[in-house]
């Protein structure tokens, strides 16, 4: 099968999966006993006002009609209007997505920078003290409630030591750079605001560490297994007998082939980052998709919940597709199928 037909087939399947998730969440919001209008207006709102708002958002229609409306909108690229922000959900998401993308990318970098060396060292010192120590460190990473770790790090580095900034993407007195990509780090660089850039990076350190540490454990585990697998193979023994220095063997013959399988788990890790973003963004006042979704859930903002979920499902699926294509590109032995 050619690469293009593979991508096409996977994209079609992806659309079905996304549609399925959208349907599941749509019915979860509509069938379970939540009332967005009541949640927004409060219990004291006069009934006629509640009815009017309900009609305005179409919540008075039968569920199947709402579902058909929802599908038609979805194909037009619209996600309905948010009850709590009173704006189209897609606009809210466009505004907030870059913040999450920036945080998730920074966290992924942290996770890779911590996880891969830990995995390699762990494999080379298999069953040694260092291996046990590293496995313990990563076990702590997956066992730590991210919201709690975030609070504790804020307490230490912001409130007590004062060496890192507090919540938010920038200090309150620093103006946001003109919006080009929506990524504060990139926009500040593009416009030459280096002070803003430095501030943005400083604001990223704590949330990215919290999220990245959590994900690094998974990367370390896969790296360890992968390096151990390579160590068992003949070509390593051959390289040794050829008299190559151990440094050359390590980089050329062990680490390089061992890193290929790690690419496949990056998709999973990214999914974990999106998940962790919900809690981390809440702690760090990060104006991204995660905190948007949490807010939407508190107000039972149907359209915002379903919209946010659809977007996350799309991102998640696209990343997995990219990872699979990348993987078969790097390792030609993998067939599309």
């Amino acid at each position: 099968m050619s690469l293009y037909s593979y991508i096409l087939r996977r994209s079609l399947y992806m659309m079905i999966v996304v549609l399925g998730i959208a349907t599941i969440v749509f019915f979860i919001t509509r069938i379970l006993p939540g009332d967005p209008v009541g949640a927004i207006l409060g219990p004291q709102a006069p009934p006629d006002v509640v009815d009017k708002v309900r009609r305005e958002y179409g919540f008075d229609k039968p569920i199947y009609v709402q579902y058909i409306d929802f599908l038609i909108n979805l194909f037009k690229g619209e996600l309905g209007k948010s009850v709590s922000t009173n704006r189209p959900v897609i606009e809210d998401i466009k505004e907030r997505f870059p913040a999450t993308f920036e945080l998730a990318t920074a966290s992924l970098i942290v996770a890779i920078v911590i996880g891969i060396p830990m995995g390699i060292i762990s494999a080379l010192r298999k069953d040694g003290a260092l291996d046990h120590l590293i496995r313990l460190i990563s076990l702590f990473g997956v066992s730590m409630p991210v919201f709690w770790l975030g609070l504790i790090l804020l307490l230490i580095f912001y409130f007590r030591l004062g060496i890192l900034p507090g919540p938010g993407r920038l200090d309150p007195y620093i103006p946001s750079p003109p919006r080009i990509t929506g990524l504060v780090t990139l926009d500040s660089l593009l416009t030459g605001n280096f002070d803003v850039f430095k501030n943005a990076i400083a604001h990223l350190i704590l949330p990215a560490t919290v999220l990245g540490y959590f994900s690094s454990a998974y990367i370390a585990r896969v790296t360890r297994a992968s390096v151990l697998e390579v160590l068992r193979q003949e070509h390593v023994k051959f390289a040794r007998s050829k008299g190559l220095s151990s440094g050359a063997i390590l980089t050329r013959h062990i680490i390089k082939p061992a890193l290929i399988p790690i690419i496949t788990v990056l998709g999973l890790v990214y999914g974990g980052l999106l998940e962790g973003a919900v809690l981390t963004e809440t702690i760090f006042g990060w104006p991204g998709l995660g905190s948007y979704l949490t807010r939407a859930m508190i107000y039972m903002d149907y359209n915002a919940i379903v919209g946010g979920v659809v977007i996350i499902a799309i991102i998640y699926s696209v990343i997995n597709l990219i990872v699979d294509v990348l993987y078969s590109y790097i390792d030609p032995r993998i067939k599309y199928g």
Partner: protein, 281 residues
């Protein structure tokens, strides 16, 4: 420690098991503490003493008091019951749902299998915490709704596992023999397949207990879990969130307990994974 290459195999095995033993000790410790909470807790976990609010840790209040003057140590002891109960029940419920779907899917095969596996794929193609949040947000806050939310978002991996085992066992010669002598479907399922599925799914469930505690705590922290004034650990962390700068103990101790119990379950889970080599995602 330096001579680890020469360490005999059994010793190395023991070294590995040590971590499992440590996990077991931590979990037993927490279970015992929450069981004997009524005996050892110095105060009623719901008792508000406004004259003793926001006290730092002292000999009178080991972990201090919260903004309503409740004793945090006592609340943590009682909170263990809630967290453990939610984690165990949601894993049990999820494994039951997963087993049911996996058995049907694997045993019947064909279109039903296709349909069920596509649905399973959809659930797996999505971060489960977000799904759990969506479900919990729509239900009214409460312990049983938290359990429902967690299990409805975590059954798919058990379904996949149960299906794989079912298909594997179904194709064994002795099942064919049983079919040929006229054994009924129910008899094959109950007598041969289910006994093979249960242990595998149970081990995977135990491995996931730590994750279930984290999810439950996350829901509690965001306000979608057990409603106040119940002493749930995640909720307790959120109650001290705004006071973290001036009154660090309110959030720190409950979070530490979440961490400790998840470490315990994960230590044990890692050993189980090593021993049984269960595939995980």
């Amino acid at each position: 420690m330096g001579d680890h290459m020469m360490m005999p195999e059994t010793l190395r095995e023991l070294m590995r098991r040590k971590l499992g033993v440590a996990g077991l000790i931590i979990i037993s410790f927490i279970i015992i503490l929450s069981l004997i909470a009524p005996i050892i807790a110095p105060y009623d976990p719901l008792d508000q003493r406004l004259d003793e609010r926001l006290q730092p840790p002292s000999s009178k209040h080991l972990m201090g008091t919260d903004k309503l003057g409740r004793d945090i140590f006592s609340r943590i002891l009682y909170g263990g019951r809630i967290s453990l109960f939610i984690a165990v029940s949601s894993v049990v419920l999820a494994t039951l749902i997963g087993m049911l779907i996996g058995l049907i899917s694997g045993y019947l095969g064909g279109r039903i299998d296709d349909l069920l596996m596509r649905i399973t794929d959809m659930f797996m193609a999505f971060p489960s915490l977000i799904l759990a949040l969506a479900i919990a947000a729509m239900l009214k806050p409460g312990m049983f709704n938290v359990i429902t939310a967690i299990s409805l978002s975590s059954w798919p991996q058990y379904a996949r596992m149960a299906r794989a085992v079912t298909i594997q066992v179904k194709n064994e010669p002795y099942i064919e023999a049983a079919v040929s002598i006229g054994a009924s479907n129910t008899r094959i399922l109950i007598g041969h397949i289910i006994p093979m599925v249960i242990p595998q799914v149970m081990i995977q469930g135990m491995i996931n207990l730590g994750g279930a505690i984290l999810t439950a705590a996350g829901l509690g922290f965001l306000g979608f879990g057990v409603p106040p004034p119940t002493p749930e650990w995640g909720l307790m962390v959120s109650e001290g969130r705004d006071l973290i700068q001036s009154h660090w103990w309110i959030s720190t101790f409950p979070g530490l307990m979440i961490f400790l119990s998840v470490v315990g379950f994960n230590l044990l889970g890692d050993q189980l994974r090593d021993i049984f080599d269960v595939r995980y995602r």
